[in-house]
């Protein structure tokens, strides 16, 4: 091979610090892509080895076995079996954790059985002494026929040793200490081996034990494999025997090489779990954490948000005054700058929310939440694991729906996917924030809680309640066959690593800005165009309005405003808004809000950007968007347009409606059908309309 680049795959159980190691090896070179056809993140990065070669490192999803139980785990199987793939590893680095070495070795022996060179990394080695663990490395290396490196990824210890071990990977013995063929039905496995000589025996075995046929295997091979599958009971039995023998082999080795001094073992886990998973305190603490998270997001994000709002408003003004007048200047100052501002403004919220989610996951607390919530979620046709997508959904539904891929049962997963868009995502927050600021007074309840904060919390609860209610209905209605099996590891509690959290937050925020951001910017520009062009009335606006007011005494400034508002009314977008006005007038909206609703069907957050575009085009007053909205008057009632009933109705509409093209696209991808996203679009839309109507009528 001319290229000296080697492919390395990181494989390991969840919670072993595999991602910490990946971050240490690749640093800022890492990229997150997609596996073809599915939305499982593919994390890759480069690493320069001591001998100058470049290694491409792939961080495979965490798994306990090569036999997959969920979508992301099947990536591990596929990567290790598809020898023709460009990502097929030259070397697998199995990452184990010092306390859970037994179960990690189970996975290690499977990888070795596939005849892929494999080395073992034991992470968190710095805690061995404190936990009273001692390992006879020399004996363990001999028994496992591999190279073993002790590291501590968090403290950057042992990373250079690992790099050196990777360089020397070809010296790793190819011997396989545990072989499936020798123990169970020798005749059966010999026949399998001889029928598919081109594959390692264990590869054939893994291929034939999977429910799904591998697409990368030739038809002839598939036919041969099928002939071994004829007795499914036998196959199952042999899988169980394999597991027992594998553990027996590992136990025998560990008895000689791995010692734990129980007197030294400090049990932080059991002390914390006594409280955190308690049948009463556990729920109290979880509720408290949720309140703290949501209150902090709103409090902390408001300062940078005001700042961003002011900054883009000023920038727009500066650009308009300093550039020569013309269409291009208008496009920049009235279309592009407010559009970008509309994206940047919720970076603080998304980042803070993902920061909390990342901390809860990193510490191991999230697994306790899964444990606490499983029974409750099951009543609604979901699983304890659905809690993580539902909480992540409060940042953005797109990564949240991707996070459902570790839910084992298809029905649980489908329901979670379908209801996640009800949770209050950060794109709804700017809509809520601006309406709350307009219609809810800035007072404190009991001198402690801000009333605005409480209303926002009520909207969060409304979102969760809608999600649960929808799940309940879907659970009754959906006829989907799926067998569920629930098993959730309770990892050790850990202090979160700043580096891991940093990458997590940056990655999720970046995905939002680049993914949803593009849509927002494009729509902002289209909207600007639609608002600054129009039919004949639009073009004759100056003449029309001047004639109309020629008799009355009116200042030049007021006349200009009348012209501008006349223009907006007769622009293309004004025509569109007016077209739907009859449909939305019962909800308390006018055609301007109608425009915002139309544009929101691409992405909710466009609401604010749209109104800012509409009002900045419609008047020369360059205050911030909030002031402009507050000044809007309903011409019929002569009251504020954004009064209490209309504002509440609008928030209810936004709480329920499926207004996110990005989410629809991801649901289509995850469910492999347009049926489900269409169901969301129509079902949520109807619910939104009816609920908003009821809200307005009741409050009017």
């Amino acid at each position: 091979m001319s290229s000296k680049k080697i492919n390395i795959a990181l494989v390991g159980n969840p919670n072993t610090g595999k991602t910490s190691l990946f971050n240490q090896l690749t640093g800022m070179t890492q990229k997150v892509g997609n596996y073809p056809g599915i939305t499982v993140d593919k994390k890759q990065g480069g690493c320069k080895l001591p001998d100058g070669t470049l290694a491409q490192i792939t961080d495979l999803p965490g798994t306990y076995s090569i036999n997959p139980n969920s979508l992301d785990e099947s990536i591990v199987l596929e990567t290790l079996l598809d020898t023709d793939s460009k990502d097929y590893p030259d070397l697998v680095v199995v990452v184990a954790e010092v306390e859970n070495i037994k179960r990690n070795l189970f996975l290690f022996t499977q990888v070795q059985d596939l005849k892929i060179p494999a080395i073992l990394v034991i992470n968190m080695a710095d805690q061995m002494e404190r936990k009273g663990i001692s390992i006879d490395l020399k004996k363990l290396k001999e028994a496992l026929k591999t190279e073993i490196v002790l590291i501590s990824a968090r403290k950057k210890e042992g990373i250079e040793d690992l790099k050196q071990a990777i360089v020397n990977y070809q010296e790793v013995p190819r011997e396989i200490p545990f072989q499936i063929s020798g123990k169970i039905d020798v005749a059966y496995f010999n026949e399998l081996k001889n029928s598919l000589k081109e594959f390692p025996l264990y590869k054939s075995w893994l291929l034939l034990t999977q429910k799904q046929e591998a697409s990368f295997v030739s038809k002839t091979s598939r036919r041969i494999l099928a002939s071994f599958k004829k007795d499914p009971k036998k196959v199952k039995k042999y899988q169980h025997k394999e597991t027992i023998y594998r553990y027996k082999f590992i136990n025998d080795i560990l008895k000689r090489t791995y010692l734990v001094d129980p007197s030294k073992a400090k049990d932080l886990r059991s002390r914390l779990d006594k409280v955190l998973t308690h049948r009463v305190f556990g729920y109290v603490i979880f509720t408290g954490i949720l309140l703290l998270v949501f209150q902090s997001v709103f409090d902390w994000a408001s300062v940078p948000m005001d700042w961003i709002d002011g900054f883009f408003s000023n920038l727009s003004k500066t650009v308009k005054h300093s550039l020569p007048e013309g269409v291009l200047t208008n496009l920049i100052s009235e279309g592009i700058i407010p559009g970008i501002g509309g994206i940047v403004i919720f970076i603080p919220q998304i980042a803070i929310l993902f920061l909390f989610v990342a901390i809860l996951e990193e510490t191991g607390y999230m697994s306790r939440v899964v444990f606490l919530m499983d029974k409750i979620m099951r009543r609604y046709g979901m699983s304890g694991k659905s809690v993580i997508p539902l909480i992540s959904g409060t940042a953005c539904a797109i990564p949240a729906i991707m996070a459902t891929r570790n839910i084992a049962g298809w029905k649980d997963r489908l329901i979670t996917i379908l209801v996640t868009p009800f949770t209050t995502c950060s794109a709804r927050l700017p809509v809520y924030a601006i309406i709350i600021a307009l219609i809810i007074p800035e007072t404190r309840v009991f001198g402690l809680f801000s009333l605005q904060g409480l209303v926002l919390m009520a909207l969060y609860i409304l979102g969760f309640a809608a999600a649960l209610l929808a799940a309940y209905v879907l659970n009754k209605v959906l006829k989907v066959e799926s067998k569920t099996f629930f098993i959730v590891e309770m990892p050790n509690y850990k202090l979160p690593s700043v580096k891991n959290i940093f990458f997590e937050v940056v990655e999720k925020t970046k995905a939002f800005v680049l993914g949803a951001g593009k849509i927002i910017l494009a729509i902002s520009i289209v909207l600007w165009f639609l608002a600054s062009n129009g039919n004949r009335d639009f073009k004759n606006a100056t003449q029309q309005v001047t004639e109309q007011f020629s008799e009355s005494e009116i200042s030049e400034e007021a006349l200009d405003q009348k012209i501008a508002s006349y223009k907006l009314e007769h622009s293309y977008i004004g025509v569109m808004g007016k077209l739907i006005e009859p449909a939305i007038a019962p909800l308390g909206y006018d055609w301007k809000i109608g425009i915002a609703l139309i544009s929101s069907f691409a992405a909710r957050e466009v609401f604010v950007g749209t109104l800012s575009t509409i009002y900045s085009v419609g008047s020369d007053d360059e205050g911030t968007i909030k002031q402009r909205m507050a000044a809007e008057i309903n011409p019929v009632t002569q009251k504020k347009r954004f009064n209490f009933p209309a504002g509440m109705s609008l928030m209810v509409f936004y709480a329920f409606a499926m207004q996110c093209m990005g989410t629809l696209a991801i649901v289509k991808k995850e469910t492999k059908s347009w049926k489900w996203p269409m169901l969301q679009l129509v079902g949520m839309g109807l619910l939104a309309y009816v609920s908003a109507l009821i809200t307005f009528v009741l409050l009017k």
Partner: protein, 80 residues
């Protein structure tokens, strides 16, 4: 009635005799839940569902319906 993991009290231990499933979930065995191994009930959610157990070096949660199918030999110790 046979004695199962679902009958354990919090903090109590037992030894797995067999797994009585129509189709034993492979994942359960791969997590180390194997005959002959000691199992401890660490914590149980309300109505003992799910149950948080410690077996063969692994800590994990399973639902009650699964716990009911993990048969135990006689009780080894009782904290209560």
């Amino acid at each position: 009635m046979s004695h199962t993991v679902a009958d354990l009290h919090r903090g109590e231990q037992g030894t797995i005799e067999s797994l009585s499933f129509d189709e034993i979930p492979l994942a359960l065995m791969e997590m180390g839940c194997l005959p002959g191994k000691q199992v401890t009930l660490v914590q149980a959610a309300p109505m003992k569902d799910p149950m948080y157990i410690h077996v063969n070096g692994s800590h994990f949660a399973i639902r009650r319906e699964t716990a009911e199918r993990i048969l135990l030999t006689k009780r080894l110790c009782d904290e209560f």
